[in-house]
């Protein structure tokens, strides 16, 4: 994640090179493999890492906010309506409008408004799934836990959250795919990431750039999704083993 420290520099460096390259691209075919080979480590890899960084940080923050809010909303039903109304409002704002709005209220161009926007987009999905997950815990399981002398805190951490985990991870999967997509647009406000490859590729009519960016974003979304599926299976083996009644 070193690239996160100096995104503007690396972005500029490769924009410069991209312009350079576009001069001779006509002769090299649709994808300029030579350019790709030469600039892969300096330009493509940092953009890719920056993209992962943006999404990972945004998701981590979103989860850190959604988990307590979701737990609160599951306990105090009155909060669920307002929470979903507010986060639902964020979710409906078009991403461009969201970025412009964040700049308008005083954020300067860079990683911060990008991450804030990505967090806001994830909240609705995550909070809703935390609440649904907690709701799916059978009441008799909670009753038995209480009847055996677990404290409220122990019931939450040892019973409710582990049982809600598959549903929460299902929310994470939707959120991560959404965030990886929207993060492409975040490059417009200086967030960096694969969006820089895509947009400068389009502006400069250099397909190698935007195809690389798009392919990597797609691969990233697919592998993040698979990673969550795997993690969930690892953490909740019980949910996938049923020999049925016998």
């Amino acid at each position: 994640m070193d690239s996160a420290d100096d995104p503007p520099t690396s972005t500029l460096a490769f924009l410069f090179q991209a312009e350079f390259a576009s001069e001779e691209q006509q002769q090299k075919g649709f994808i300029d493999w030579e350019w790709l080979g030469e600039n892969f480590t300096e330009d493509v890899v940092p953009a890719f890492l920056q993209h992962i960084y943006l999404c990972a940080v945004a998701l981590a923050i979103a989860l850190a906010i959604s988990l307590p809010l979701g737990i609160l909303a599951a306990r105090y039903r009155g909060l669920y309506g307002p929470f979903t109304a507010i986060t639902g409002f964020f979710y409906t704002i078009p991403s461009f409008a969201m970025f412009i709005f964040l700049l308008a209220i005083g954020f300067s161009v860079g990683v911060t408004p990008a991450i804030i926007a990505l967090v806001l987009y994830s909240l609705l999905i995550l909070i809703r799934n935390v609440v649904t997950g907690l709701d799916s815990v059978p009441p008799e399981t909670k009753d038995a836990a209480r009847g055996m002398g677990l404290t409220d805190r122990q019931i939450l951490w040892r019973v409710e959250l582990p049982l809600a985990l598959p549903v929460i991870v299902a929310g994470m999967r939707i959120a991560v795919v959404t965030v990886i997509g929207i993060a492409v647009i975040a490059s417009y406000i200086g967030g960096g990431g694969l969006g820089t490859l895509i947009f400068s590729g389009i502006t400069r009519n250099f397909p190698t750039l935007y195809v690389t960016g798009a392919v990597l974003a797609t691969l990233l979304a697919i592998s993040a999704d698979l990673l969550f599926v795997r993690t969930e299976r690892l953490l909740s083996p019980w949910a996938h083993r049923t020999r049925g009644a016998r």
């Binding site: 059978p138 008799e140 399981t141 909670k142 009753d143 038995a144 836990a145 209480r146 009847g147 055996m148 002398g149 677990l150 404290t151 122990q154 019973v159 582990p162 049982l163 909740s236 083996p237 019980w238 949910a239 083993r241 049923t242 020999r243 049925g244 009644a245 016998r246």
Partner: protein, 325 residues
């Protein structure tokens, strides 16, 4: 010993109490069945013992000590708890489920593991085969066995059981009931057992507390006395029209004085000594005979212990007292 002293419970916002001025004592080592129609407060009464519900009035003493003298969680760790839907933790293995309370009490891992195996044996599940499974991999009957094992884990002197055999088919339920009574002969726990099924109550209870709507104690006595001397019309109708037959189901054939099995026994129906008189009656009438040959489990024709006649069954149903086996 569990003593209810003037216990009432009224939920906030309700005019009438669900449990009203309940006073009775449950002796050590006895199964006390709380039975009654729905809305009679039987589950509420049970849940006030381990303070899952707090009474509005009165007190509950466990071994002379007020159950509010320690925190609710501490209290609950000392009282076994088994419920109808088992409430097993789906994400924990069978061994982990059984080890829940020992874990809370800080037992070391080796002790918890050996206790879990011991209890699986006790409830008739091979530890090697079941300890690492998840609840969803077990049948309903097996899950209820685990539920009972889990309630017994920390060897609590008192156990609360809310229809612990309710969610299985009648044949499995009968077997689980018999096995549990057998276990109870050894462990001698003080058990509060909630059911809506009077037959289960008669079978399981040393004492039965019949509650009626509004949480009023209608009668508290032995099954025998409740069947012979119902205290009110409510009890009489709740117990049902087949009181005489129910009473016969309290006595096992093996506990009755038998007559010598003279003559040719080959034509007579075979009666297992473990059966109740009610089963024996049904078998004898079904076979069109007036007596049955009593045999002990495992023995065939040769090992007859004597004969039981319709006459002797009739006498017992009229009140000849037979001590409970």
């Amino acid at each position: 010993m569990i003593e209810f002293k003037g216990v009432s419970k009224t939920y906030p916002g309700m005019d009438t109490p669900v449990v009203r001025d309940l006073s009775f004592t449950i002796e050590d080592g006895e199964i006390c069945v709380l039975v009654g129609p729905s809305g009679c407060g039987k589950t509420t009464s049970m849940r006030m013992i381990n303070r899952l519900i707090e009474p509005t009035e009165g007190e509950i003493l466990i071994d002379g000590q007020d159950n509010t003298s320690m925190s609710g969680t501490q209290l609950r760790r000392k009282i076994g708890y088994a419920i109808q839907q088992t409430g097993l933790f789906p994400h924990r293995t069978i061994a982990d489920n059984i080890g829940t309370v020992p874990g809370l009490l800080g037992w070391d891992k080796a002790r918890i593991a050996s206790r879990a195996d011991e209890l699986l044996d006790l409830v008739g599940l091979a530890p090697d085969q079941y300890r690492d499974r998840y609840p969803a991999e077990l049948s309903g009957g097996q899950q209820q066995r685990v539920g009972v094992a889990r309630a017994l884990a920390a060897d609590p002197p008192v156990m609360l059981m809310d229809e612990p055999f309710g969610a299985v088919d009648p044949i499995t339920r009968d077997r689980l009931q018999n096995e549990f009574l057998h276990i109870q002969e050894d462990i001698k726990k003080t058990i509060v057992f909630v059911t809506h099924d009077i037959d289960e109550g008669i079978k399981m209870g040393d004492k039965i507390a019949i509650l009626k709507e509004g949480g009023i104690l209608a009668q508290y006595d032995t099954p025998e006395n409740i069947l012979v001397k119902p205290a009110s019309e409510f009890v009489q109708s709740f117990v049902g029209g087949d009181r005489v037959l129910k009473r016969l189901s309290l006595t096992r054939v093996g506990d009755v004085d038998l007559e010598p099995a003279n003559g040719n026994g080959n034509a007579l129906p075979r009666i297992n000594a473990e059966w109740t008189l009610r089963d024996a009656l049904s078998e004898i009438i079904g076979a069109g005979a007036d007596r049955g040959l009593v045999v002990t489990d495992g023995e065939s024709n040769g090992g007859s212990r004597g004969a039981i006649t319709l006459d002797s069954i009739r006498k017992i149903s009229h009140g000849a007292v037979v001590p409970r086996g």
